[in-house]
Symmetry: C5
Amino acid sequence: LTEFSPVPLTIEGSCVLHQLFEFDWKAWRGASAQDRQHVTEEATDLFRGLGIAGEKSSPEGSALYSLLGHKGDLMMIHFRNSFEDLNSLEMKLAKTSLYGFLKAKFSYLSIVELSLYESSAKTYAALAGNGVQQHTPEWNEVIHEILERQREAMAQRLHPSIPPAKYLCFYPMNRKREGKQNWYALPLGERQRLMHDHGMIGRRYADRVRQVISGSIGVDDWEWAVDLFADDPLVFKQLIYEMRFDEASSLYADFGPFYVGIRLNPEDFPEWLAVDSAEKM
Amino acid sequence: LTEFSPVPLTIEGSCVLHQLFEFDWKAWRGASAQDRQHVTEEATDLFRGLGIAGEKSSPEGSALYSLLGHKGDLMMIHFRNSFEDLNSLEMKLAKTSLYGFLKAKFSYLSIVELSLYESSAKTYAALAGNGVQQHTPEWNEVIHEILERQREAMAQRLHPSIPPAKYLCFYPMNRKREGKQNWYALPLGERQRLMHDHGMIGRRYADRVRQVISGSIGVDDWEWAVDLFADDPLVFKQLIYEMRFDEASSLYADFGPFYVGIRLNPEDFPEWLAVDSAEKM
Amino acid sequence: LTEFSPVPLTIEGSCVLHQLFEFDWKAWRGASAQDRQHVTEEATDLFRGLGIAGEKSSPEGSALYSLLGHKGDLMMIHFRNSFEDLNSLEMKLAKTSLYGFLKAKFSYLSIVELSLYESSAKTYAALAGNGVQQHTPEWNEVIHEILERQREAMAQRLHPSIPPAKYLCFYPMNRKREGKQNWYALPLGERQRLMHDHGMIGRRYADRVRQVISGSIGVDDWEWAVDLFADDPLVFKQLIYEMRFDEASSLYADFGPFYVGIRLNPEDFPEWLAVDSAEKM
Amino acid sequence: LTEFSPVPLTIEGSCVLHQLFEFDWKAWRGASAQDRQHVTEEATDLFRGLGIAGEKSSPEGSALYSLLGHKGDLMMIHFRNSFEDLNSLEMKLAKTSLYGFLKAKFSYLSIVELSLYESSAKTYAALAGNGVQQHTPEWNEVIHEILERQREAMAQRLHPSIPPAKYLCFYPMNRKREGKQNWYALPLGERQRLMHDHGMIGRRYADRVRQVISGSIGVDDWEWAVDLFADDPLVFKQLIYEMRFDEASSLYADFGPFYVGIRLNPEDFPEWLAVDSAEKM
Amino acid sequence: LTEFSPVPLTIEGSCVLHQLFEFDWKAWRGASAQDRQHVTEEATDLFRGLGIAGEKSSPEGSALYSLLGHKGDLMMIHFRNSFEDLNSLEMKLAKTSLYGFLKAKFSYLSIVELSLYESSAKTYAALAGNGVQQHTPEWNEVIHEILERQREAMAQRLHPSIPPAKYLCFYPMNRKREGKQNWYALPLGERQRLMHDHGMIGRRYADRVRQVISGSIGVDDWEWAVDLFADDPLVFKQLIYEMRFDEASSLYADFGPFYVGIRLNPEDFPEWLAVDSAEKM
């Protein structure tokens, strides 16, 4: 290959938006019982409409979480077929009465992706072996075919339904580009090896945690978003701690903020919002 | 050349201002239907006046985008002939009734530019070959002539009309100056080679994405602004991911925040603003 | 061991939430004496209910501190059996009248942990000596047994009661992963040696300060939280200063913000809140 | 010289304060026409009193600029004889009715300075040649005399009148102290050479831009402030871009935020403030 | 010595709190003349009670400064015997009517300290020479005696009265721990040499500036706080500029924000607060 450092073949699926909000409890307590009831009903309807609740197990779903800590009170995650659908959903929420009590604290835009490191290494080697130059029509055709085939084979992982797990751990991350620790300057084979070893750890946790990786290079401020779904949040700590010692993370990972939420079904939302009217001051 | 590291010949065109705003949906819902109608009409008129809508395809245009995520709700991009025109446009917007619902989240000031690396290398070599000293009147005259010729030849790229593409991806960036990874300490020929290879990737995407580079050294906090216009936002991710592996980006690029917006024509703005009066609480 | 850098055996206990709030003294002074009395009573009841006051010396306790400086006015620390209990406690507080006067400034989510470096080194060596491969059923069984035994033996340290000390010093921290100073790339034996030396300093302060370490990899933005409990705050400075010169801290520690608070019992809280009504303006 | 790295002889002049404000257009539009007129008149009077307008071309002047972008709306620069005069001027402004519409976004405190690198090198060498020890009375006397002579010779540059140029570019900056790129560990002769080459670039722009350097070590958060005054803002970009490739900037400069403003005379301020009363909502 | 890098013997004195506030001039102008008079009187009384004004030249004093720039309007510095006294003083201020016009922008908590580098080097060498092991009872006794003796000898410097100087320069700072520039990994003798040379510069400024160093490791976010008191603020710039070239600062210092204030006596505070009632809008 003539290039500095070859790009791995990558296939993309659903568009993803994370939204994190603070809830204005003071204003909420100050609202009339009637207004609170109206907001609660409108919001519950909206959440059902968004596909929250797991009724629709289609890949175009959303989920709601009660966040731990001061980084926000509510977290939503939305999987859709396009950025346009995500923006229209944002606008729909912004125009509800609930939105008057929400303050956006963070959001994250990304696209579900799978990196085909093994396939890339084999294909690039085969094409080079056959004397096919990069980016020639012949080369492009082979690559196109592989990507199409993989997209079909991986359709379910590219357009995932949201796992019903009780806990969500979400964080964005980068691969380092600092001096000698530059992921993007490593040979493809080296990156393939590191990704393989990294993946082996995940595999040992596969029965306890479901992972969705989405890419955000060019669309948001970190390079990837990671969503982990599990029924026991201790697994988040154990998995990520173990990974920190593998070569890929130890040398090349740069982590953003971590967010942990507890699943909230639309039917539980009225309870989440409920305040004791008698206590109102 | 006697200098530490020669500056590439550079030609400049339109002045550019990006403005990113949060929209106060709570106050908007609280406003009377009459006030909302007034604001909507005034804003739509202003946007038409700013050259938004593509009717005027002159280089002095503006465009409006609905932003994804919490970084803001509306993004405007303005191309004008001077900073004074940009400031007067800012003032005009600040004095509208719409501005009472906007909160500035970010902005970016820059000037469309083209770096003439190939021309620089040839010219500097030729002048040195002829024994012409840098910054002498003779040297200045030759340089001046080249710049003038290029400005004419490149007039359309220096004063671009805003492409009508559905999506805009905007981000500022720097070239690194850290230890051995110092773009500004590289020999001119090395920078020329890196820019050439970098450009080759862009060329392969030319039919799917339009790119405008503007320089902001000395006028804003990063060194360059990049605007990518495309009908499919997946292209942003693919192009920028591929570029991250080229030598220029892998070793020398330092990226700022990324913003993605969906084009909003003035005639669509009333719909964007519309809230259901009956729902108002 | 075939791995890049082995993970130390680690056992976990109570879930921990730190909450730091600013108190809105202006609004408080503006509230009626009646409202202030109501808030004071409701809050005092809540604090007693949360296990604040040391009456319940069970491991599911909370404590309240008056913070020094502008980083906040009140700090709470909560030990519970699950993240769900912590979130439900957060919601309970958010729905009180007191919460209308609080503004969240920071929080920290973590899980009490003990790293078994000595045990890890011995066990890994023994298993390797016996030819037991990592992550095989045989290997897993041995590890599982050790962890269970240690969890029982260390139950009190894993589920600590909050020491009644007058002062609390809380800070989050990371181990560095920068170039050659990469904790996660050190051999296990080297990390064991550094942790041992680091622990020797703590041991000399054991009669003057009680320390609780909780891990937050995967659940909050730093890797660990440290809580020091002492009756003389000078000890915080002396202990941490001395530790800064040990090899583990000098080369590998990266410290977050430091928070110092003075213990506030529920029965002292009314006094803390009391303002002179006559002075109210 | 026995010292680690000798300090260049430096002479100081006027005290400088930059103030950057956001203007609350919403509140302004909401104010009565009468109130707006009162504020406008009071502010215009104040600005004249501050020496804004160029009528007083004394070194104790101030100037007002309309800022580009979201970093603020108004920028003021004040040159005075003491910090006390600057603070009293700040207080005067804070007590006007205009101040109720201003929100401080940034400020910068500094003292006009000239570094006498050539003089330092010569003098230190001569004194060393004569066997005069540093900081002895004899040494001090020689230094004192040189500084006095230079202060007189450079009086105009140390106490500059504000150039009437249409545009101001202001930014703070540091010299790096990172590993091998440590300005403060370079030999004096090396720094002298770098400053000389750096200055040569500025000299070529002397007819198009006026530069004022002020030092802020010990009084604000960066080490220097740079003010560039020009009638064509493109010159800011060209000059600073060219300088970025010189050795002093390429290796040792660390830049803060950049601010660009357009000169606003007191007589233009009413126009800047004017809003269409009929449009008021 | 068997330790990685020995801790210097250190003695501590007064507890210190810096408080920096923005003053809400808009609300102040909006308050009634009667309310302003009440606040002014209450605040002036409080300030006298805090020991502001130099009447009490006891070490338990406070001082008030009018800050330059946008980082705040008022700075207070308090020296007390305990953190508890500092917290009770904070609470007292928070409950005044003045506090309704103050917004906390920054604060800093620290403890006056003296590092006994020379004494440490001699003592450690002598003890080692006598074969006394570190941290044995014999070793502890010798160290304890030295610290006691030094605390008595240095009592005045450990519990300083606030100098009546017109200007205060306050900044926090760290010693670097980055790769080869790691203060905490230097041999004790090397640190002793650097501190000695650093101190020699300060000594030359001793008649123009009074310096108080307080340590904040373990109690606030930087490692030390520096307070410089002088009648001519130019001295701050000259002293700190000169120090930046010494080896200790050039290689190992990492500086926080710098704050400069002008002394405000309680009797001057009413004047500082005075606004022209007739001008009120």
